[in-house]
């Protein structure tokens, strides 16, 4: 019996290999296991290798495993590309049809040729080979078949019971074949029982979208792009039930600008994109900052620069998120680390956008955006709506006809009351040009300085409730790990291993990236002997932010990766060991 296991299914893109992975994972999730998935795919529709790697565990997991226990292969290429990842004793389940073989140099791995296609055809259609493959896994892992019944029924129920039956038959036949092949169950593939609790199973993009909806966002304007499109696609499905809508715009400039227009109108609205689209929004972000119009912008980071690696993992938009747009505006940048945080941080993003009347950028990354994982129940009661000085629901006191509302009133906290169009006594003007308190263009030096100071004052002492996600068991650790976005799980896993070797390690994830929470970060940096910043980019953007805002240049080191693939625990462990050895800390 094992308490965790790593499974991968691979084949040609566009051949529906998402299905078996989803089915397998959903069933296990319902049994109470924790799952963490990552899809490897390319920027093309049909053809080209794709795979889905899923980790299953009795405990929470938020990282891929270094190796693989089971590989389900729909073509020889899958074996050729992935066999080296298998642990000693790992198993390949491959379709017997194309005579699968082990590549040269791969040893200590068992290849079981299962007649995926043949069995499927016998049952009625070659298309069901996917189900046979799932069945083969079921057999290998000695799983019960019942949880699959439920999922299969949901998937094909509306096509009639016969179809459900056949699919279940395919699973059963696949399982049976492998069971016979093995002779009896293998302990090393048998998972310890899970707690049976029902948890959610979703991708970050769904959590982002659900967070937006729950925060009251009723309008999204967006232009399709990988890996952000699912946010818009989810909302297209559910928003109409809440009276809201999504517009697929002509480009990202229109998308963000429409979102700004809707926020000006009093509706929580947002957009989502990835690098190229975010770059196109640069000018509009300045408009939101200058006009103090709330707006939320999600950047699901992918491999850059330019079109770059559209389907790969990276965190190279940190600087752009913080510094992009000419001139100087107050802006908030958040960076959730987990799918749960995607949900809660989106809610917070809408609150902060309205409370501070600024653009809020939420950075995620491809692994977080598209990786499907087990998520603890989302807490409805934790969702709180705060609109700050929004006056849209207020009956404003009467005023003289031309006595315009002071939309940009110079207040001590820099935030001004905000009526919305349609309100009887709220008339004012809004402009991206420097303006006076009622929003009329004004270039006077004193007014300029006052308005600029007012805008920048809004975030001068900004700190969100929990700017860091903290794991800090040690008062004086050998090393502090600092991470962002989906590196959370893999850093934690590396830490577990390092701790086993006697290293004392603390860990913070930066949730509030800008304004940089220097006062929160500093004590952790000060306490640690060395600091290792883990990020997926080539120029160490996060490490530079720490150097800039916290200092301590000498003890800050970077572990970087920018080949498009997410970190594996061993990569961090090994590099950290090297660094700590050089410092004679191990």
């Amino acid at each position: 019996m094992v308490d965790q296991l790593s499974w991968k299914v691979g084949g040609q893109q566009g051949e529906g290999i998402e299905k078996p992975g989803d089915l397998f994972a959903t069933a296990l999730n319902r049994l109470g296991y924790y799952l963490y998935g990552y899809r490897h795919f390319s920027s093309r529709i049909k053809g080209g290798h794709t795979n889905n790697k899923i980790r299953v565990s009795t405990r929470p997991v938020r990282a891929l495993s270094d190796d693989l226990d089971i590989l389900v292969a729909f073509d020889q290429e899958t074996i050729d590309l992935n066999a080296k990842e298998l642990r000693k004793g790992g198993v390949i389940l491959a379709d017997a049809r194309w005579n699968p073989r082990l590549p040269d140099g791969i040893e200590n791995v068992r290849l079981i040729a299962v007649p995926f296609t043949a069995i499927a055809q016998e049952i009625g259609s070659a298309l069901m080979k996917n189900m046979v493959a799932v069945g083969a896994t079921v057999g290998l892992m000695d799983l019960p078949v019942e949880p699959f019944q439920e999922v299969v029924t949901e998937l094909w129920g509306r096509k009639g019971t016969a179809v459900v039956e056949k699919n279940m038959q395919a699973i059963a036949r696949g399982a049976e074949f492998v069971r016979q092949e093995l002779g009896g169950p293998l302990e090393e593939f048998k998972l310890a029982p899970a707690d049976g609790k029902k948890r959610l199973f979703m991708i970050g993009n769904e959590a982002i979208a659900l967070g937006a909806l729950t925060a009251g966002a009723r309008f999204m304007a967006a232009y399709p792009i990988t890996p952000a499109s699912e946010i818009m696609e989810y909302l297209i499905k559910v928003l109409p039930k809440f009276g809201g809508t999504v517009i697929q715009t002509e480009d990202e400039i229109a998308a963000v600008t429409m979102a700004i227009g809707a926020n000006y109108g009093g509706v929580r609205a947002f957009t989502a994109s990835a690098g190229p689209g975010i770059s196109l929004m640069t000018e509009a972000i300045g408009l939101a900052g200058m006009t103090e119009t709330p707006v939320v912008i999600v950047d699901t980071q992918r491999g850059g620069p330019s079109t770059g690696l559209p389907t790969k993992q990276e965190h190279s938009d940190l600087n752009a998120a913080i510094y992009s747009t000419h001139g100087e505006i107050p802006k908030i940048v958040l960076a959730p680390s987990t799918v749960e945080e995607c949900f809660y941080d989106m809610v917070e993003a809408f609150n902060l956008a309205e409370e501070y009347q600024v653009p809020v950028i939420v950075l995620t990354d491809l692994a977080l955006a598209l990786g499907k994982q087990t998520v603890e129940p989302l807490d409805y009661d934790r969702v709180e709506i705060r609109r700050g000085k929004y006056l849209g629901d207020t009956e404003l006191p009467p005023r003289e006809r031309l006595d315009l509302f002071k939309r940009y009133e110079l207040t001590p906290d820099g935030i001004s009351p905000r009526p919305i169009p349609g309100q009887k006594y709220g008339i004012h003007h809004v402009t991206g040009v420097e303006h006076n308190e009622v929003g009329r263009p004004s270039e006077g030096a004193a007014n300029r300085k006052a308005q600029m100071d007012k805008r920048l004052r809004k975030l001068a002492h900004f700190r969100m409730k929990e700017p860091l996600r903290v794991y800090a068991p040690h008062a004086q650790p050998d090393v502090l790990f600092v991470g962002i976005n989906s590196t959370e799980g893999v850093i934690r896993e590396a830490i577990e291993r390092l701790e086993r070797e006697g290293v004392k390690a603390n860990h913070i994830q930066i949730r509030q990236l800008h304004p940089f929470p220097a006062d929160d970060v500093r004590p952790y940096v000060d306490a640690a002997e060395q600091v290792i910043v883990v990020e997926q980019n080539a120029t160490a953007q996060l490490a530079h932010l720490i150097r800039l805002h916290v200092g301590a240049r000498e003890k800050i080191h970077s572990i970087l990766k920018y080949d498009g693939n997410p970190f594996l625990p061993k990569e961090i462990t090994e590099q950290a060991k090297g660094l700590l050895k050089a410092k004679e800390l191990i």
Partner: protein, 291 residues
């Protein structure tokens, strides 16, 4: 409405910084009169404008106003309309704003057909940046940026609007405020996107396309016998024949359905008045999909 509204209700105390004689004064006046004629109250209207001399218009009228970025007035306006469909949303800007940097939004807004009225103050030049060529400048037209004359074909905005599926396509002229008022009124009443190009001369930089120049050339549709503004093909044909100099309501689709009325699930009650946080039941139903 108990008190009668007058165009004065839409005046404010900011003296426009336009040059004396600029065509934009007439557009401003026409807007104010049209709003009054329709019995609107200032707070019911939002004027969203671009950047240019023309773009300053949102600051000269007593309504809600948003002076945005160059070329993006329509994107702001559409977002605003979705947020609050009860508002009368009027977008306005220059020919550079709407036909150069913002042309993509113009065409897509036309296709989308939200219930918005869009006025382009077309002076065939860039005013605010001191006299460069615009997409409306004629071949051979000399400007600061084309001292030897423009070498690009001028755009035909009305034909373009028809080609984009426009449901209300009109053209006015700053010299004929009455006509312009009635076009704007009809545009606001139209259930969909009302596209109105206005010949609004720039007296400072455009010494060719002057008031007189237009006066000699415009062809009001009323002067064309048998003109039927519901006939899209005829509209296109007459536009080609007059080289785009038709004025009046050139085409209107009487069956136009506004975008807002086509959105699945979109309510009559404006979005801005819908509750924010979903009910616990709704939330739980949403979450249940992920188990």
């Amino acid at each position: 409405m108990d008190v009668k509204v007058s165009f004065k209700d839409f005046r404010n105390d900011v003296p426009p910084n336009w040059c004396p004689g600029c065509g934009d004064f007439a557009v401003l006046a026409a807007m104010q009169r049209a709003f009054a004629n329709l019995g609107l109250r200032p707070e019911q209207v939002a004027v969203v404008s671009g950047i240019g001399c023309s773009g300053r218009i949102s600051g000269y009228i007593h309504t809600y106003g948003f002076h945005g970025t160059h070329g993006r007035a329509l994107a702001l306006a559409q977002g605003l309309k979705i947020a609050n469909r009860d508002l009368v949303v009027v977008a306005a800007g220059g020919d550079g704003d709407g036909y150069a940097i913002g042309l993509n939004h113009t065409i897509h807004a036309i296709r989308r057909n939200m219930d918005i009225t869009y006025l382009v103050m077309d002076n065939q030049i860039y005013g605010l940046t001191k006299g460069q060529t615009s997409p409306r400048s004629a071949m051979g037209f000399q400007t600061k940026s084309t001292p030897k004359g423009s070498i690009e074909a001028p755009l035909s905005p009305l034909m373009m609007a028809l080609a984009a599926g426009g449901t209300f396509v009109a053209q006015g002229f700053s010299s004929d405020v009455n006509q312009l008022v009635s076009i704007i009124e009809a545009g606001i009443k139209h259930r969909g996107f009302a596209f109105i190009n206005v010949f609004s001369p720039c007296v400072t930089f455009n010494k060719v396309n002057t008031y007189d120049w237009f006066r000699e050339r415009v062809v009001p549709v009323e002067t064309i016998e048998g003109y039927d503004p519901h006939d899209r093909k005829l509209a296109m044909q007459k536009l080609m024949e007059t080289d785009g100099m038709l004025t009046g309501i050139i085409y209107q689709d009487p069956d136009s359905v506004a975008y807002e009325d086509r959105i699945p699930g979109f309510r009559k009650e404006p979005l801005v008045r819908q509750p924010l946080k979903p009910s616990r039941e709704d939330f739980e139903a949403l979450v249940a999909e992920f188990v």
